[in-house]
Amino acid sequence: MIRQQHMTVVSQQEIAHRIFELTVEGDLVNDMMAPGQFVHIRVADSYEPLLRRPISVASYDKEKRQFTMIYRAEGRGTNLLAEKRPGDGLDVLGPLGNGFPVEEAAKKAYLIGGGIGVPPLYELSKALNGRGIETVHILGFESKSAVFYEAKFKELGDTHIATVDGSHGTEGFVTHILNELPKDFDAYFSCGPTAMLEAVQWAYPEKKGFLSYEQRMGCGIGACFACVCRTTKSETDYIKVCSDGPVFRAGVVIS
């Protein structure tokens, strides 16, 4: 069930340059169902900024009634979000959308993330590992200062890092790493900039893949038609990223 809840900030930390890890607490966590879902956040009790901000669930803990987000403080809204302190309230709408289908992986999965697309892959990796599936993480960042969660992913499986400027790991994009890796996995899961998702799909046309998309949103719940994409199904078919996604099977969405 989708709820709108005044949650409480448990912790907030800058874990890389302008990248924040924010943990909040409340009953809404009980309804989280799969890694890859997101929440829609009202960052201030003001009409400016007006709209909510969509942020992925990076991990959740139903026992503690807590979940964690990781986001880049970039524009007006996320910069305000970065000012929240433990004890502050936070207006959260969620959980929203459908997450990654963990049951689709059989033995070994590639998790391919770029920048602020990396966070949802963390809960996903934990879930896959929990099912005994081997995970390999291929993560791309702008530069060394923007890298986060490397150690955490390493605990869960092989982890390869690419940075655009080469300041850490392989220089270039995740696709540079993919080219070097074997294709001995049965499913891949990816989240990141649309260009990256496209490249990943091209790299593995024969594999089962699941991609998490981004779009500008209004309502976040499927009512406003802001976040639509056409699909490969027919000329007139479309999906809404917020309510039909954000995760879709590779080959479905025309971006």
Partner: protein, 304 residues
Amino acid sequence: MTNLAIKLPGLELKNPIMPASGCFGFGKEYAKLYDLSQLGAIMIKATTVEMRLGNPTPRVAETASGMLNAIGLQNPGLEGVMGSELTWLEQFDVPIIANVAGTTTEDYVEVAKQISTSPNVHALEINISCPNVKQGGITFGTDPDVARELTQAVKAVSSVPVYIKLSPNVTNIVSIAKAVEEGGADGITMINTLLGMRLDPKTGRPVIANITGGLSGPAIKPVALRMVYEVSRQTDLPIIGMGGVADVDDAIDFLSAGASAVAVGTANFVNPFVCPEIIEKLPERLHELGFGSAEELIGRSHRL
């Protein structure tokens, strides 16, 4: 007991609060959050003869206390709306106001004729003011003669009362209102969005793929209120007012300005429970202000 009921042509409203067209889809999503039977009415998303896919994305952009949208009338088309959406809505005890759009008079007539026969459609809202379709739409709402003729044509075929939705992007909104009154409109809904634009300061490019979009939200409330005030003083048509309503006092303001009911658009995205919350607070607020019914408040500003 504070009486919230309002009687308008075709509409017996439990209360004067309803979601605005395009900000509530066909109700399905919000039905998961609360019982739609609480609402005064529902204005459903614009319906056109054929299915439409709308504009390319990005379709929305945030602005100071507002947002731009250029959805472009995406909808499943007359058949889809009548077949599945309206039928599904029949489970709720709430009158539906069907928003009708098109690019030619024939389009409007076709949709109006058919959709007005749906059992739960109690009124039509003729959207002559959508800024996001390239032809037709916008000119219908900016020329009094064209607006009058369209009203007549739609009235001739509709089985339910017809409300015309006015565009604020005009020099003289009263002249358009008077024209649709002459054309036989049963009521007016206003305002639709103001035409606006946002650029990305980094690239210099418009943020909205369609270049311009319609501005809505609290930012436009002063313009909406002024127009409702002017039109309600100079025509006899009942008005469903909207533009930036986000809390109970905003609703009070629109009633005071002369609206008989109030629609809530953008605020649904910020607070999906905004409509039932306003409905819940209205009786207490009316009582505080010394009014025994919502009706008494209508046009209060004119009498002062």
